[in-house]
């Protein structure tokens, strides 16, 4: 796994990294199913995602997008099959390794999950503090990542003083502050108006262009049609299509 600190990288890469299909996949789902006693969340999922890809997972609510994301962040475990990230089976991660694994993946949610009593700066810095970074390192990284999401001037504001787009940018900054290899966004634009939506999608592009693999779960047709990237379409817990430069077709 590439451990380069991408946020500190001040020279943007000249071209988006072309996903290398020859290399071993960064993420691989092998015959993954999650079955509850009276419901099947996802069934026999087989997907490979290369490092540097921008993948949209689309489908209506309840088709299993969030389950896939929870599998990736190890909030859930497959009842059948295996999930590999950077060649490692997530089932083999020991409990105390999970926090360290989570620092390598950033997650963004529809409802932002910001702490209301903390400022923008504190929300982002908190993610570093809980992981034991030194105060100087916390300040350095927080500043850089707030610049990246263009929130430098709002750093002293509290979440309730921000627009939806700014809140989501704060959440993205927090997800990026560990320089994760993978950024997962679960319906990040679900609560946003069209303008803010584009702001967030543009930001995700930029992050992807810096080399971070981005996985975007959404049911927003316009977002997907404009991305012109790989689109995985899900229906009732199964993948029904997987195409590059794809569109949201039901």
């Amino acid at each position: 796994m590439n451990d380069v600190l991408r946020i500190g990288d001040t020279t943007p890469k000249t071209a988006p990294i072309a996903p290398n299909t020859e290399a071993p996949p960064l993420i691989e789902f092998q015959h993954v199913s999650v079955e509850y006693p009276n419901r099947v969340a996802v069934k026999d999922i087989n997907v490979k995602i290369q490092e540097g890809e921008f993948v949209s997972i689309v489908g209506q609510s309840g088709v299993g997008k969030t389950t896939l994301i929870k599998l990736l962040s190890k909030q859930e475990a497959p009842t059948k099959g295996s999930v590999f990230v950077a060649g490692r089976n997530l089932a083999d991660l020991r409990d105390r390794e999970v926090p360290f694994y989570r620092r390598k993946i950033g997650v963004v949610f529809q409802d932002f999950k910001l702490l209301p009593q903390k400022t923008v700066w504190e929300n982002v810095a908190f993610a570093l503090e809980v992981c034991g970074y030194s105060q100087a390192e916390v300040a350095r990284r927080t500043e850089k990542v707030l610049d990246l999401v263009n929130l430098g001037r709002r750093q002293k504001n509290y979440p309730h003083e921000l627009s939806g787009g700014e809140r989501q940018r704060t959440a993205i900054a927090r997800a990026l502050v560990h320089s994760p290899n993978i950024l997962i966004a679960d319906e990040p634009t679900g609560n946003l108006d069209p303008i803010n939506t584009w702001e967030i999608i543009e930001l995700l592009y930029r992050i992807n262009q810096r080399g971070t693999t981005v996985i975007l779960a959404t049911h927003n047709r316009q977002v997907v049609d404009r991305t012109q990237k790989r689109v995985i379409l899900m229906k009732s817990g199964r993948i029904v299509s997987d195409q590059h430069g794809g569109k949201y077709v039901i």
Binding site: R102, E129, V130
Partner: protein
């Protein structure tokens, strides 16, 4: 600053901040902790009171043999003392001279007007031997032996009344034991209820912050870092509970003390001073139990939020 120390300081700060930010919940938890600790302290005090008063009462059962000033020379008394000491049931004997008796008399908590006329020159207090036996029941043997041989030398009112006292003393002792058992059972019962309440209120404080825990989890905080602030909070409940309990007990003892001074005269201390005398032990146990309980309950309550 080493990173371990820095992490500890961060954890401590988070716990401390949470503690103050949720003032009302904190106060509720601390008061319930106070209730628990008060119950435990009451059991503890009762145990000590009964133990000490039983000791005191038993020591009163030991006999003192008084000698007539006119008929007995000092040499005979020492000889008698040696003879008593050789008896198998006797543990110790102590010879009280006239001078010593005078000091003891002047130390008694009685009217100064009564004390005043008694001086070294005018000292009617008799010499005596205090006899301590291993078992109070053996006293009668010693007494019988003494009265048979030396009855003319001994002022023997005590010897006669001993048998009657014994029954009263035994009744008093069994009553004290009953109070102790009933008190401890009641305290444990209420203590248990209080512990469940502490458990619940700490669960509520943790549930109120489940969002924060969730955020900490997905930004990659280790479980021990998440648990840390809650343990600090639990410990602070214990410390605060100890503080309140100590105040409460001292205040209660101070208010109640004059009303039950008669019973406590046995211990030659009133209740307030008795509790004061036990204070270090009480605070020690309150802190140990409060801190352990607070920390343990926090650890148990937060466990369900930390499953991967």
């Amino acid at each position: 600053m080493s990173s371990k120390l820095q992490t500890f300081l961060r954890v401590f700060k988070l716990g401390y901040v949470n503690f103050w930010r949720n003032r009302w919940l904190t106060l509720g938890a601390a008061l319930l902790m106070t209730l628990t600790l008060t119950m435990i302290s009451v059991s503890l005090i009762l145990t000590y009171v009964v133990r000490d008063s039983a000791d005191a009462i038993r020591s009163k059962i030991d006999i003192t043999v008084y000698f007539r000033d006119d008929t007995v020379p000092d040499t005979q008394i020492t000889a008698l003392q040696q003879r008593i000491e050789t008896q198998p049931n006797v543990v110790t004997t102590h010879l009280v001279t006239k001078a010593e008796a005078l000091t003891i008399f002047h130390r008694l908590a009685i009217n100064e007007d009564i004390k005043k006329p008694v001086t070294t020159d005018n000292n009617p207090l008799p010499r005596s031997i205090e006899v301590h036996t291993a078992n109070p029941d053996d006293i009668s043997l010693v007494v019988n032996g003494l009265t048979a041989i030396d009855s003319d030398k001994i002022i023997c009112d005590e010897c006669v009344s001993y048998g009657q006292n014994k029954a009263t003393i035994e009744r008093l002792l069994s009553l004290t034991r009953f109070i102790q058992k009933a008190g401890i059972l009641l305290s444990l019962f209420f203590g248990l209820i209080a512990i469940f309440n502490v458990l619940n209120i700490i669960r509520i404080t943790i549930a109120a912050r489940s969002d924060e825990i969730e955020v900490m989890r997905f930004v990659g905080a280790s479980n021990s870092f998440i648990r840390g602030p809650f343990i600090i909070e639990g410990i602070l409940y214990g410390v605060l509970g100890t503080f309140f309990t100590t105040l409460l007990i001292l205040l209660t003892a101070w208010l109640v003390s004059p009303h039950i001074s008669q019973f406590f005269s046995i211990l030659s201390l009133d209740l307030y001073h008795y509790v004061l005398h036990l204070l270090a032990i009480l605070i020690f146990w309150q802190l140990i139990i409060g801190v352990l309980l607070g920390a343990l309950v926090s650890v148990i309550s937060i466990r369900r939020y930390l499953r991967a």
